[in-house]
Symmetry: C2
Subunit: 432 residues, 2 copies
Amino acid sequence: MQVPGHKFSDVGGFRVGAGKSSFSQHRPFFNVTEPAQVLQHASEFPRIGRETVALSDTAGRVLATDILSDVDLPDFARSTMDGYALQAASTFGASEGNPAYLTVKGIVLMGEIPEFSIGPGEAAKIPTGGMLPAGSDSVMMIEHADVLDETTIEVYRSVAPGQHVLEIGEDFEKGAVILSPGQRFRPQETGLAAAFGRERVQVYKRPVIGIISTGDEVVPVDAIPKSGEIRDINTHTLSELASAAGAIPISFGIIQDDYETLFNTCSQALEQSDMVLISGGSSVGTRDFTIEVLSALPDSEILVHGISISPGKPTILAKIQDKAFWGLPGHVVSAMIVFSMIVRPFVEHISGLRQKRRFRIPARLIRNLSSAQGRVDYIRVRLIENQGTLWAEPVLGKSGLINTMIHADGLIEIGMNTEGLNKGEAVSVIPL
Amino acid sequence: MQVPGHKFSDVGGFRVGAGKSSFSQHRPFFNVTEPAQVLQHASEFPRIGRETVALSDTAGRVLATDILSDVDLPDFARSTMDGYALQAASTFGASEGNPAYLTVKGIVLMGEIPEFSIGPGEAAKIPTGGMLPAGSDSVMMIEHADVLDETTIEVYRSVAPGQHVLEIGEDFEKGAVILSPGQRFRPQETGLAAAFGRERVQVYKRPVIGIISTGDEVVPVDAIPKSGEIRDINTHTLSELASAAGAIPISFGIIQDDYETLFNTCSQALEQSDMVLISGGSSVGTRDFTIEVLSALPDSEILVHGISISPGKPTILAKIQDKAFWGLPGHVVSAMIVFSMIVRPFVEHISGLRQKRRFRIPARLIRNLSSAQGRVDYIRVRLIENQGTLWAEPVLGKSGLINTMIHADGLIEIGMNTEGLNKGEAVSVIPL
């Protein structure tokens, strides 16, 4: 990427003249930020708006209000077994040698209110889910009763009061908060909203994420790359990552080496999006170029210029008009890892997500791994199950290889102050 | 649910007359099938068809063909660092006390083919991703070179041939198979398809899953349930589970107690779907009713009638016109667990999925758990991280409580021949 006034020979990062201890004024990423500090900036960005959607459109969405139960669930004492509704006291002392004999007074049918009541020594046949007749307080499982004739059963054991019964409101009491803002809908949360008659629910909007690819060497997917050129992998990969994080990606195309075009595209993306990702510019000169554009946008503050992670060090975060604007590395592997580890928590924050259920997978490291101190390393690993133990196997190959991401099931994080990890050591794998 | 000729008093499961060792001919689920055997039936069902979709619609889809690389990636020897391209031999023996001096012959720009070559004692400034000039075989990191003047650098260490360089085709060789049928698209697989110019790819169709709720006591979500009634949780929960498994759910509504209506709805669902789920009928009588309808459909074979799992025992699997037709328990918790553990692998099979990346999460059990032998128990658990250890805490409450599914992060499986698990024991959590 060429910028007027930015010849490759005079941009930062190259020590000009003098001895080994001198640094150019432009040396980039000298004051890199630790990843934990970067993540703290997330709370500086406002949550996005809300909208109301149909129950069938809630998958993966984040609830924006409380949902209260409008009925007791169950709203009647309900059998949890096929069996006989009875008074527990009628069975006390019953045993193989001394069975109790009960009179079957009727049959409870699903969805119907029994028209009889149960007294001492009486029982009623009841299906799973059936309503307990008045007077009964428990259910004897069908397997524990022998039918003697149409109106008599013999039972050999006692039941406790309340056994095999869900009491009124035992699952959810009427008026209780059953779901809270910040919860993401899984199938069971959607089912629960259905149980309480919510045909539509208020959720946070899906944030719109603008995606810009840069680089003279980047060509569209339908082009045949000439020597030195590469097709636009980043727009497609970042769009899918954004979708998977619950956002709506919008591509602003591939921007060639032209300051004005990049500036205008960034302005446009900022206007139409809740967050912007610009990827590319992995060379020193282009990084300076990106930061120049970001700084020039109105109401802009550069929060982070370099993160102490590998891969992904040359990452920029600016707060522009209250929106996060990211300069991501040009290499797709680095861009993916930065998105997953750093950008995604920002997407989740502005999306209103509070309850996170993404768990790291504990595993054991299959071989020694060395790591540089002073930065957090993300190592791509494959997961292998062997005789009940889950092993994390680092995916071999140079860090720039895209094929490593295809072979990887996840990442392991090696902390700032760790020199390396030993074979057999416990690690936590972040699924990819 | 009432069926003509099927009075509650004469259906299976109730031992009529005689002693404790006699079983009614209709006793359901006497020959229950072990879950592992049920899963083996999956391969009896044909995979569904294929379709071609745009790259932007590949998220979660299953690839149906090989994808070959149409270019070498990279298609030129590419620097993986900002630095100097040179001949490694020019640096051999260089040290702090005996630096090597190299002549800077030019600058490589991104996306451009260098018009000069590098000989012994020469170097060219090169950005990450830049093309190595002819004659050079390695890159010296910028941090390891001092600029003396416009045309001279001083280096203090040696590099190895090939260092910080991706060779032509080192990531993906032209003509190689880069993705295979049965792989599910993650962001990186989509990115890779972009890298090789695939604007459209052939994937397996998303199977259509017909969903039928049954039960006189079940009312639509927009209804106010009367005493003894419950809103239709199952259609919504199962639809979301089907979507999450990559399928397209179609609801066929709530079917009341009418044999002919159920039969006709099942016929219609079968015609319009690749798989059908009918839920409800958790009572003994209704189960017989469902199996009667399934048996009566043309070209039907009942493969499974009862599974030795808890919850979920009263599950039916029929093969009807080469499609899987499931009778799921009426209780939503049981239906969810059966879907996740049993039905989902069938959905994945017909969807063409071969490479599965769903991992169980190793954890330690926070308290003792008892379990019945002779069946597989699925226990809902919460995951709690404490000082680097992940603990699985069983969610308390009666098994029929829906709220347990909301509080659960996953399930643990207790095998057929296990009486229980001890506090501290290693368990594998299946995420929900």
